[in-house]
Symmetry: none
Amino acid sequence: MSDNSARPRGGRPRRAGVGAAVRQAAEELIAERGYAGTTLDLIAQRAGVAKTTVYRRWRSKSHLAIDTLADLLGDPPAGIDLLSPITWLAAQVREPSVRRLLVGLVGEAGQDESVRAELRARIREPFTRHLVDEFGLSAPDVDLAFDVVVGALLHRLAMTGELTDTDALAVTDLATRLVFGR
Amino acid sequence: MSDNSARPRGGRPRRAGVGAAVRQAAEELIAERGYAGTTLDLIAQRAGVAKTTVYRRWRSKSHLAIDTLADLLGDPPAGIDLLSPITWLAAQVREPSVRRLLVGLVGEAGQDESVRAELRARIREPFTRHLVDEFGLSAPDVDLAFDVVVGALLHRLAMTGELTDTDALAVTDLATRLVFGR
Amino acid sequence: MSDNSARPRGGRPRRAGVGAAVRQAAEELIAERGYAGTTLDLIAQRAGVAKTTVYRRWRSKSHLAIDTLADLLGDPPAGIDLLSPITWLAAQVREPSVRRLLVGLVGEAGQDESVRAELRARIREPFTRHLVDEFGLSAPDVDLAFDVVVGALLHRLAMTGELTDTDALAVTDLATRLVFGR
Amino acid sequence: MSDNSARPRGGRPRRAGVGAAVRQAAEELIAERGYAGTTLDLIAQRAGVAKTTVYRRWRSKSHLAIDTLADLLGDPPAGIDLLSPITWLAAQVREPSVRRLLVGLVGEAGQDESVRAELRARIREPFTRHLVDEFGLSAPDVDLAFDVVVGALLHRLAMTGELTDTDALAVTDLATRLVFGR
DNA sequence: ATGTAACCGAGACGGTACGTCGGGTCTTCAA
DNA sequence: TTGAAGACCCGACGTACCGTCTCGGTTACAT
């Protein structure tokens, strides 16, 4: 979805399908073994690609992970009411691969501003922009709602390892009220 | 605060002050350099202790970090109203050392159930128990409020690197309403 | 045979049998696992004794090993001819426990003069003295013969891991001729 | 001289000079501080190379030492008489670096068959082959002579820490007679 | 056709941290 | 004083992973 695909001038063109294969491998492996437990060598191997190739397209493991995650999330659904995109977000976080990617990335973000920036631009902003455009909400409010939903669910997961429907519901309710009540 | 204390009998007693010195060193270093940037060798060195001594008392870097964090947090204040402990919690999360410890630990928690368990027992449970005893609230509700506050703030931090007063306030409000409104 | 048994003045007397038990444990373990593969903790454990006790009686692992070895070798037989003590020596070296003790000790000797001295005094000198007294040979000659027999056989063992009768015979012959032919 | 050379195809080629630099560092350090007193970290550092690089080329400290020793020994001189290679061998053993390498390796050999095998193939066999080819001697006899010379001198060194000319001469005499007298 | 420039696979390399192991010392309590 | 128990210091071990680098060889597109 963006291993910066723009490669205008000469030279051998990039092999098609490599980007997808690598993201796919990363997603699977991280879902299976967690973020830290997944090696770039491993990813490259499963994707049938050399490690160099991965590093040519992505700056680091974190950036590959962000890209994988963005690809995995896709766009929020174009629903009629405000609740549906928030519910969709919560559902996404409950997916094991999304969750483990997020948890790993939050860890990295603490260490590295460029990861934070990328995370904002590639993950949160699309969501926010969607709600702003669709429902005319204020961007800061939606950002906060995003952080509340993702953060709370992630942290719950980090604490207990699982997440009940009731909890997810409570949090989405909360976030919805947050956006409304301003 | 608990690198385990009750030891049977016999043998050279543990050197007094080692636990405190190591926690102190860990706290400082993690505040300065972040969780991942802090080595056990470094901690041991600053604490004036051999690395093996650290590993004798704590199973791993994560467990030392949890212990350090628990020690750092202390008990929530015995306030009269329900708001104060939640505000206190938010304030704690905004402390650089607490925050960096938490961020690091949330990352590890994804990988390791024993870290999750320890995190629940040493960090969240004391808070919850306090609110339950003091105000007669339901434990699951308080747990959730804890996860919302800590998770949301942490995630906001992970996304932006900073945290405004307004945001912190919004989140504490939310959590308070959550506990009430059930 | 000499964990320096002289303990004149007051205090609790040494427990009888400890010396023998430790030597026994050391011998067995080194025969089974080699010198380097044998830990002092292991020895103490098998001897049913605390590590401290071992270190109170012997200066170091090497010195315990030398003592064990001396005990194990005993005195050369009071034979009538000169050949028999040399043959006896060769036979001793072929014993697994003796061999592994020797190999380990030779390694340590390279690093530590006190080990060398002890080795001379406790292992080689008794042998030499015996041949000097019994057959009126010159001490330096016998010392050399000792070094040739033990050294050659040990080195053969180090190279091949085993030792045939013919080789052993050839070496003893050689050494005998050496002592004679001067 | 052989941290293995023939590599298949592809990949970044090994940096030239690394092998020599590491062997050189190992030789110097072991001559200065003895086998056991020499760390792989130290060797790597002095060679200006990462520790991982050393471990990539040599299986262990022992194998590096064998390689260093083989490199150091070189080939026996192409003399006209049988005495000269044996004298050469004795002279080599008296070199501090050779001696300390050998002593260390003999110790390891007791623990590890792969070290024994390597020692035979890289150290003893070249010597033996030379004498067999040059003088038509039987390989087992020369092997034995090798073990007698090296073993006896090493053991003498282990016992006394030094080695006089007379002793060295006596041993080479012995070994020469051994090869002849069969 | 030929040059150029980017691609890819393979794998060496530097660097840093990890957690473990073993020798030897020290400290306390009990005998 | 001895012994048991076990904490402690020190220093080395070998492994793992990240991200960089250097090859040989390949593949379009522009000249």
